[in-house]
């Protein structure tokens, strides 16, 4: 048939991936991060100290671990506002086991398991029963933390085994903390998952058009369910780190984490309505947030002023490219 031969040649790409990367969101974030780094080292004599910088990473590592999983979840069109509450519940479960004399490996497994179970519960309600993610997780946010309050009341779990302290307080090498290593591994793992695997591709497809994804033979429900599981799992990992770092559990642990995690994700250039974003962006956003809060902290700026800066940064970083485009179009 003639049509087969006359097919026109279509080039694979018009712009090279390199030139695209130059103009990308990530490039902008990198510039912002470097600028803040330079400003910080000018503003405070204490900034350029390896130990101080190492301490500063605690400002974001736990949140960022969750942010990686959350980024893929948001790219696929969902959201999980219960992550802070999952940390509380996972930490409480570990505390219960600790009082019963469980050794560190069991505590770790229990923390991960609780995270997975909470993720599964969210996933069940959202991906299986088709309820809207944002409101389901507002509900489970109260539920999970509520259970933690029921278990703990006004008490606290303390006296975690010394070996457990390694996760949140240990160093792997010189100033490199265990949390930094977990952070880096998580960044790498989720980066590969999102950008280099079929699963990541499916997440993008679902986020852009879930119906068409289903009509393309993708098991949409399963992918969304797994993403909730992963978010729960990473909340469990964060729970282990945070509990270990604090050496204790109270039901109010990690209160308000969810909004900071979402802020990191959005600042990282992930479209909040789903469909686009990258892990590189999230890593850079976490660094930017950490640098801003630490830098301002060194100047003893009150926390609330930092949150104004972060809020303004969030809006500005997203608004500026759009304003620029508007101005250029006239």
């Amino acid at each position: 048939m003639t049509t087969i031969q006359t097919g026109r040649h279509i080039p694979d790409r018009l712009t090279s991936p390199f030139s695209r990367a130059l103009k990308s969101w990530e490039a902008l974030l990198l510039i912002v991060a470097v600028a803040i780094f330079v400003l910080n080292s000018l503003a405070s004599p204490y900034f350029l100290d390896p130990w101080n910088l190492s301490d500063a990473t605690f400002n974001f590592t736990e949140k960022a671990m969750i942010a990686f999983a959350m980024a893929i979840l948001i790219i696929a069109g969902d959201i999980d506002l219960s992550v802070g509450a999952i940390i509380a519940l996972a930490s409480t479960m570990m505390g219960v086991a600790m009082t019963l004399g469980a050794p560190t490996p069991v505590l770790v497994l229990l923390g991960l398991g609780t995270g997975l179970a909470c993720g599964a519960f969210n996933g069940l309600l959202v991906a299986r029963l088709g309820l809207p993610a944002i409101v389901v997780t507002i509900g489970t946010m109260s539920l999970f933390r509520g259970i933690s309050y029921i278990v703990l009341g006004d008490g606290a779990f303390t006296g975690y085994p010394a070996s457990f302290a390694w996760f949140g307080q240990g160093y792997v090498f010189w100033v490199i903390t265990v949390e930094m290593v977990i952070f880096a591994l998580a960044a790498l793992g989720f980066g590969i998952l999102l950008h280099r695997t079929n699963f990541g591709r499916m997440a993008y497809a679902i986020g852009n058009n879930a119906t068409a994804a289903r009509f393309s033979g993708i098991r949409v429900g399963r992918v969304r369910f797994i993403l909730f599981l992963l978010t729960g799992l990473m909340s469990g990992v964060a729970a282990i780190c945070l509990t270990s770092r604090l050496g204790s559990t109270r039901p109010s642990i990690a209160f308000g984490f969810e909004l900071e995690v979402v802020t990191i994700v959005v600042l990282g250039g992930v479209a909040i309505l789903g469909g686009s974003g990258s892990i590189t962006g999230v890593v850079l956003a976490a660094l930017v947030m950490g640098l801003v809060t630490f830098g301002l902290g060194l100047l003893n700026v009150p926390g609330i002023v930092m949150s104004i800066v972060v809020g303004a940064l969030l809006i500005a970083v997203i608004a500026l490219p759009r304003l620029w485009a508007m101005l250029r179009r006239g």
Binding site: F58, G247, I253, F294, G297, P302
Partner: protein, 306 residues
């Protein structure tokens, strides 16, 4: 070079801590070679306080005096501070012993526990029901005081403590919890609120419910915030130590410890300027002074001060 002492509040903006800050500055002036860094998180969370303390460690301050949001959660961070040669003490709301060199109680917990129930009992000669409105379920000092109060409750046989509710140190929640108490226990005679936020909200709720004269609100509060409620009769009396003195004393102690002029070990005595001196107990804790009672006769005078 000046010695830098960081005063860390539970959260910025609370009148009590602002007053303590005043006291710290007073001590600094008296000492001459001290710079005060007054800081704290935005809301009363342990995580927020840890971030603040981390940045203080990074600035290599000489001493940290903290009123803790969580007895245990701050321990690892404060330990790190001590390892890096920083003097760490807690004041007002304590940290577990391994996380600080000493703790300065505003007053002794048994004295406070007794004081708050006594204030209630004094104004209910026939006895009756009282309820407790606390801060958050995790507030260290409130929990200790209530525990101490329950220990001595037997000394007041006519007083029946019917329950404890938590206002989370939020004005609206405390207000609603008080409303709940008034509904649940129609015969309630007194509400004990050992928290400066809770006592104001409780007094307001009692006023709004038209129960002035029936229900007496007492506990721990700031004269400036409570003056109106004392004159309206919603609160007959309440107690507090002077937060200015507390900030002053904490600064003094931190200074002497950091200078190496005193050591923090059981039995040691540490001078605190115009406040005299304290002796540390077996837990390396010390009490600053007795709580002081405010009522219609003196509240106006102190309202000007803090």
């Amino acid at each position: 070079e000046d010695m830098r002492i960081a005063i860390v509040a539970k959260a910025l903006g609370i009148g009590f801590f602002e007053a303590a800050h005043k006291g710290a500055e007073e001590a600094a002036e008296e000492l001459g070679d001290v710079e005060i860094i007054y800081t704290g998180p935005t809301d009363t969370t342990a995580e927020g306080q840890i971030e603040v303390i981390n940045s203080l460690i990074a600035q290599r301050v000489d001493a940290i005096a903290v009123s803790a949001n969580d007895t245990d959660a701050l321990v690892p961070t404060l330990k790190k501070a001590m390892q890096r040669g920083i003097t760490v003490i807690s004041w007002d709301s304590g940290v577990a012993p391994e996380g600080r060199q000493m703790h300065l109680n505003p007053s002794s917990a048994p004295l406070i526990g007794n004081m708050i129930i006594k204030l209630a009992a004094d104004h209910m000669p026939e006895g009756g029901q009282v309820a407790v409105l606390s801060a958050t379920t995790t507030s260290t000092n409130q929990n200790v005081w209530i525990e101490e109060m329950n220990k001595v409750a037997g000394d007041y046989p006519d007083v029946e403590v019917v329950g404890t509710v938590y206002g989370d140190d939020l004005a609206d929640k405390s207000y609603r919890e008080t409303q709940g108490l008034l509904k649940t226990y129609p015969d309630l005679k007194a509400i004990i609120a050992p928290t400066s936020v809770g006592i104001v909200a409780a007094a307001q709720a009692v006023t709004d419910a038209g129960k002035i004269g029936e229900v007496n609100v007492t506990g721990l509060g700031l004269p400036s915030e409570m003056a109106g409620h004392v004159s309206s009769g919603a609160s007959k009396s309440f107690a507090i130590w002077n937060p200015i003195d507390l900030g002053y004393s904490a600064t003094m102690i931190a200074y002497h410890l950091a200078k190496g002029e005193a050591t923090a070990e059981p039995g040691a005595t540490i001078p605190m300027g115009r406040m005299g001196e304290v002796t540390l107990d077996d837990n390396t804790e010390a009490a600053m002074a007795d709580p002081f009672v405010y009522d219609a006769s003196n509240v106006e005078e102190f309202a000007e001060v803090f």
